[in-house]
Structure formats: C-alpha cells, structure tokens
C-alpha cells in the first residue's frame, strides 16, 4: 500500500517540465535568425555552412554546435529543461542571454527555476544601466598604438547622478598571454593568432590608470545610447563568454571586432560587423559605431603626460628651471628665489613639479625618496592649489582619414616619364592628411607601388612590409628618443644608371625638436642592411643619417629631408627630398614630391611626381 502511494506520489511530485518538440521548419528558421547567429558568434564558412569564432567546447551544448547553429539551438532548448537542482551549472544560469531569447521566441512558460546565485550576484554588482565605447588614442612614442584599441564601459544606475565613472566596469577583449615570451615573439604571436582571446571584466579605474598613466594615452569616451534593457542583454551575454576562448588575430579577429559583435547582441538588427570583412582597425570600428547612430556624446580624457605638458606650457624658461629644481629637491620650495615669485606662479610650478615626479615614477617600484618628494609637493599644492587644468580637445580620431590608401601618380625620373600605382593597407605617414593624427608619427603596413614607365616598361617600385617613425619632440622637461624602423623592398641606384630592387632593413635613433608651433626639426643616426645584386657581398651594411624638417602649413604637411647611407663596401648614397601635401578633403590629398639622389654607382638622378592619395577603407 505504502509502496503504491509512494509511487503515486512520485508521479505527482515528479517535475512536469519537458522540452517542447520543435518541428524542423521552426528550428531552422530560429537557428538562422541574425540574433541566434550573433549569440553563437557564427560566421558563414568558406565552403558554405557555419563556423563559430568561438574556439572553446565549453561554449557549445551540442557536440558539433560550433558548425551547426540549429543543433546548438535544439540542444540548448533541451538543456533549459534540465532539473533545477543543477543550480549554477544549469544551462539557464550559464547561458542567461540564450535563455531569455528562447523563452521569448518559443513562449516557454513552464521552465524549471534554478537558483542562479553566482550569476545574480555578479549581475547585481555590475548593475548595468548604460554603456560607453572607450577608445585609447595613439601614443606618439608607441606607433603601434596608433591602431588604437576599443573597450566597453558599463555604467550603473547611479553613475549619471553621482557624476563619476570610477565605479563602473570595463569589458575588454584581448589576447591571453601565458608565460613570458620575449617582445618579438609576443608581437608576432599577437599578429598571427598564437594566443587565445578572452573577455575580461575589471574596474574601469584599472583601465584608466593603465592607459592614462602607464601608457600616457589620451582616452576618448563615446557614450552610447543603449537603453538599460539593451545594456543588460549585452552584459548577460558577456556572462556566457566568461573564460571562453576565441582565436585572437591582431588585424581582424581582434578587440574591436568582438565589441561590434557585443553591440549587435545589445541591439538586434544592428549590422556593424559586415563592414569589416578583412580587417577591423579600431578607429574604423569607432567610425562605424558613430555612423550607426549609437553615439550620444563624446568625452575627452587627456593622458597624464599631456596634462603635465599643458601645466608647464605657460611657464617661461626660468620657471621651467624651477620646476626641474623643485622636483629634484623639495627643499627648493623654501628657497627665497622661489618664494619671491607671485603665489599663482608658485602654484603652477609646484603642480608641474609634482606631475613631473609622478611621470618619472611611472611603471616603477615604489621608491621612498620619490614618494617623500611627491608628498611634500602635494602638501605644498594643498596650501596653494593651482587653477584646474583646461586642455583643448584635439581633433577627433574618428574624423581622420580612412586607414587604407589608394595612390595614383605621374612623374618623371630624369627624362623618362612614368605612372605610379600604389596601395597601402594601413595607415599614415608624415605627410598624410593630418587631422586626428599626432604630428611626427608614421606607421605604414603593407604598401605596394608599381611603376609604368613610358614604353610600357613596368617595374615594382617598392614593397614596404612595415615603416614606423616616431618623431616625438624633446622639451625642457621630457627628453624622449625619436626612432624609426623599416623593412621591405625598394629601388635604389644601380651600376648601370638604372634602379635595382633591393631588400633591406633599417633603423635609426636620435632626437626631434619643436622649432615653432607647427614646425619640427629632427636628426637621427641610422643603420641599414641590404641585399643588392650589384654588390659583391650578399648582405651589405651601412651607417648613415636622416634629418630634416616637418612643417604643417596652410596646404598640408611638408617634409624636407636629407638622407645618407655610407656602406662598408664604399658605396655612398645620399638623397634630398621635398614633399608637400595638399589636403583637398578628409579622404583626398594631392602630393608633390621632388628628390635628387646621389650615388657612387651612377650619376645624380632627379625625380618629380604628383600623386593623388585617396584614403578609402
């Protein structure tokens, strides 16, 4: 009797949850909706079908879910009906975004109710209300930073009223580096997909500190107009991506591409990723986000270095010397020469000295002497505070020229005319349209130039793998190095008065000085190694120089450069060149180049060219 009662009881107490049977048609239709594809990070495979960017079995419930969104959907629906006792491991707790959507689409009223304690705690402390796209801009002495980076900031319900974002969280996608590879391997693996990519969530203040102080990069904060529901949906999906591995490729499957995917999850119907089939350079993705109407407002946060230079800018030469003296020894604050200065000037000097000390302490272990000096300066600032800094906002990075350049030129070399066709994959050189870029920074990746001389004589003129130049001006307070590095193929004078294609690698270091408001002068010592068919040796080294002027005038940027390479085998190669850009519009420029090249192997050669530069992604 009891047994029968017991089994009867079991029948009534057993959970009546059962996954609904989905017919094939409905399944296929749901599985191919853009939203489900976005949630699974699927892309169309090269030979048809689907492939997910996610490179992690933990993300899929079906064993081949990475290639079959329909099987993944079916498996997810099944898993939603698992017993609630699974708790935090229940599919509803691991995949809250999928759960929400499937529930809506299929009208699932009878789901079990597991306690998703871990997720709830996490979600409540994030308290997502709105979001901002954060763009750390280029740092002049780190040209690869010119590509920029993008991350998201999640603001809470009280952020607006409290008027501080220091309690917000940042969502960052980046390569997950294990162990300590050396610098070159690090860079190579980042480019070539040697590291997995992971999402991380941390206090926004951590990122601010990292970018503004450690890396001295300005930050642009684009407040997005996502509603609390949309922000919440996006954050739910980020929970699904916890510790989930993606591939990471610097150029295409990178931080920016992943963030565009997140925005598409936040607002279904948004299509941002299809604009980036080949590469996703962060500034370009910022443009895309802006064009889609997501951006409500923009805020600029200058880096610590920029603040230091802004504070020191109105100081005259003697006052700058005081800054250096005071920051080296705070006893100088008691010096009669210092105390004789007007109070306001003392305030500025103290603040500049403090900022300089903190700038020097960047990235270092705590030094008690430095800490003591900084502290004395803080005390001095406290008793005589300076006025708040007002820094003029520089050009918007997203309004700079597009990252890819198409080039068409006509010119003459000595008495032969030619047409030149060129394509540069990225990014910016010293003469390109300057708005939104720092003056003196150059980074070019993959540039090919081909010439057609009269008589249908074609030749490859140059193939640059990478050319990076960083001409950061030295001033009284900061004395950074200027440097450059380049490698590829280029044409140089040969024995028979012709141009020979050589492969080369070269580098240089030196200094740059601000000669006027828009005028830089630079001088570098260089080293070069090349393989030249007209040379006896396989590899010929040379030492040399590279100096000149960079002037931003009414038309555009102008460079006047002199270069010399003194080879160990006796060849001496020198050139003088003048380049003037005429900035026609944001994405169009015209450049006049004139040069004279000297070599021991041939007579001096003159070259003049007029080139159209079309910046177009």
């Amino acid at each position: 009797m009891l047994k029968r009662l017991a089994s009867l009881a079991l029948l009534f107490c057993a959970p009546v949850h059962a996954a609904p049977m989905l017919d094939q048609g409905r399944l296929q239709q749901l599985a191919s909706t853009p939203y489900w594809i976005a949630l699974g990070h699927y892309e169309t495979g090269k030979l048809g079908g689907w492939r997910s960017y996610v490179d992690d079995d933990a993300f899929f419930l079906a064993h081949d879910g990475a290639h079959h969104p329909d099987r993944e959907l079916k498996a997810t629906v099944q898993a939603l009906y698992a017993p609630a006792s699974l708790g935090d491991k229940h599919a509803q707790c691991v995949f809250p975004a999928r759960t929400r959507w499937l529930k809506e689409q299929l009208g699932l009223q009878d789901l079990p109710q597991p306690q998703c304690q871990e997720f709830k705690t996490w979600y409540q402390s994030i308290d997502p209300h709105s979001a901002a796209l954060i763009f750390p801009a280029a740092y002049l002495n780190s040209p690869s930073s010119m590509f920029g980076h993008t991350l998201l900031r999640i603001d809470q319900s009280t952020t607006r009223s409290d008027d501080t974002t220091l309690l917000s969280y940042a969502i960052n996608f980046g390569a997950y580096i294990e162990g300590s590879d050396n610098s070159i391997l690090y860079a190579w693996k980042g480019l070539a997909g040697g590291y997995p990519g992971l999402f991380a969530l941390m206090p926004y203040q951590e990122k601010l500190s990292e970018y503004r102080s450690l890396e001295n990069r300005d930050l642009w904060e684009y407040q997005l107009d996502l509603t609390p529901e949309e922000t919440g949906r996006m954050v739910e999906h980020v929970w699904e991506l916890k510790q989930i591995q993606f591939d990471y490729f610097f150029f295409d499957e990178n931080c920016s591409y992943r963030l565009l995917e997140l925005l598409q999850v936040a607002r279904p119907g948004l299509d941002l990723t299809s604009q980036f089939p080949l590469t996703a350079i962060p500034t370009d993705t910022v443009k895309a986000v802006k064009q889609s109407g997501l951006v409500a407002s923009e805020l600029y946060r200058p880096s610590r270095e920029r603040e230091l230079l802004a504070r020191a800018a109105p100081l005259d030469h003697d006052e700058k010397r005081q800054v250096l003296a005071v920051s080296a020894d705070t006893a100088q604050l008691q010096n009669p020469a210092f105390k004789a200065l007007p109070r306001e000037r003392q305030a500025l000097i103290q603040d500049a000295a403090y900022r300089l000390e903190r700038y020097r302490a960047n990235g270092q272990e705590r030094d008690p002497g430095q800490a003591k000096r900084s502290f004395e300066l803080l005390r001095a600032i406290n008793s005589n505070p300076p006025p708040p800094l007002a820094i003029e906002r520089p050009g918007l990075p997203e309004d700079g020229h597009d990252s890819r350049t198409w080039q068409l030129g006509v010119g003459t070399r000595e008495d032969r005319a030619y047409a030149e066709y060129g394509l540069r994959m990225a990014y910016h050189d010293l003469n390109d349209n300057a708005y939104g870029f720092p003056l003196g920074a150059q980074i070019e990746i993959l540039q090919l130039k081909v010439r057609q001389y009269e008589g249908n004589d074609w030749q490859v003129q140059r193939l640059d793998l990478a050319t990076i130049r960083s001409l950061t001006p030295r001033n009284e307070l900061l004395k950074p190095w200027s440097w450059q590095v380049a490698g590829g193929l280029e044409r140089v004078p040969g024995k028979h008065d012709d141009e020979v294609l050589v492969s080369h690698v070269n580098g240089g270091a030196g200094g740059t000085w601000q000669l006027g408001d828009d005028l830089l002068g630079f001088a570098l010592g260089t080293v070069r190694v090349e393989h030249h068919n007209d040379f006896a040796q396989f590899i010929a080294p040379a030492a040399g120089f590279n100096g000149g002027l960079l002037w931003r005038n009414g038309l555009g940027n102008m460079t006047l450069e002199a270069k010399g390479d003194y080879f160990t085998n006796g060849e001496v190669r020198r050139s003088v060149s003048l380049n003037q850009q005429w900035e026609i519009s944001q994405n169009l420029g015209l450049r006049l180049s004139a040069s004279r090249q000297f070599s021991h192997l041939s007579t001096a050669q003159n070259e003049v060219m007029l080139e159209v530069k079309w910046y177009h992604y």
Partner: protein, 162 residues
C-alpha cells in the same frame, strides 16, 4: 545606498564576515600612498595584443579571499583603495579640493549628493590630517577620514563603519 548594497552582497558570499581586521595583504588595506602601479608600460610592440597576463579576471571575487567585508569601501572583494592608482588620485584631488576621485570617495562613503561639495572642502582643509605622511596606508587614510568627518557637524553622520 551603495555601501549597504556592497556590504550585504559580500556578507552573503563571504566565509570571513566576522573578521574584524581588514584581512590579508591582498585586500589592499595595506597599500601605501604612491604605490607602484601594476601593468606593463607600453613598448612599441606590446600593443599587438592589448591583453592581460594571468587569469582573465571577471569582476567580483566571491569573498573567499579572506578580506573583511564589513567595511563600506569594498569593490570587487578588495579595498576600493586597492584599485590601480586610486589612492594616488584621491590624494591629488584632495590636495586640490576637487576631482573625480574625491567625488567617488564621497559616493563610496555614502555621502549624500547635497553634502558632497562640503565634504570636498572639509577634506581639502584637513588634508594633512588625512594623508598624514608619505608612507600612510589605505587603512589609516580611511580611519583618519572618519575622524575628520566626526568633527564636522554636517558630516558626522557619515563617520560610521559599514
């Protein structure tokens, strides 16, 4: 109010809720002013990864790291001061009498919006009392702040531990 929310959240998860002391060295209370910053400064090749080494953090620790959760100033299971560079920024803002870090400090201490300007000027005037030395640590700064608040009639109500 933010501090209550933080407090209860972590009391639920923490196993050490009854600990009086702020906890071990990783909680951030021992952080000194002008602590060196974490992270690698940029070298020109580093930006190809934009990543992090070590565990990809994901926000809240579950409170089992032994840090006291009684204090209001917890953020992610650690002291608010432990955030990269936070204490430095606070000292700078307080020396000047205004700034975002100072506002955030007021928020985290539970100061009501209408009292925040007064909080900024009071702490600015008592800077030497709060940041009493170059080697002062987070715990001391916090208790010094509470002492200063206690002496101000308008702000005394905020001078309680979580």
């Amino acid at each position: 109010m933010k501090r209550i929310l933080l407090g209860t959240l972590f009391t639920v998860a923490s196993l050490n809720a009854m600990a009086d002391a702020p906890g071990g060295p990783n909680c951030g209370w021992g952080n000194m002013l002008f602590e060196g910053q974490r992270g690698t400064p940029a070298h020109f090749l580093a930006s190809t990864t934009n990543g992090t080494s070590g565990n990809a953090t994901f926000g809240m620790t579950s409170g089992t790291n032994g840090c006291s959760t009684k204090s209001a100033l917890t953020y992610g299971g650690k002291s608010w001061f432990a955030m990269n560079g936070m204490m430095n920024e606070l000292s700078e803002d307080m020396a000047m009498g205004q700034g975002e870090a100072l506002t955030t400090y007021a928020v985290v201490l539970g100061v009501a919006p209408e009292d925040r300007a007064h909080f900024a000027s009071v702490t600015h005037d008592h800077f030497n009392q709060i940041f009493s030395s170059a080697d002062v640590n987070a715990e001391t700064v916090h208790s010094n702040t509470l002492a200063v608040l206690k002496n101000d009639p308008r702000l005394a109500k905020y001078a309680t531990e979580a």
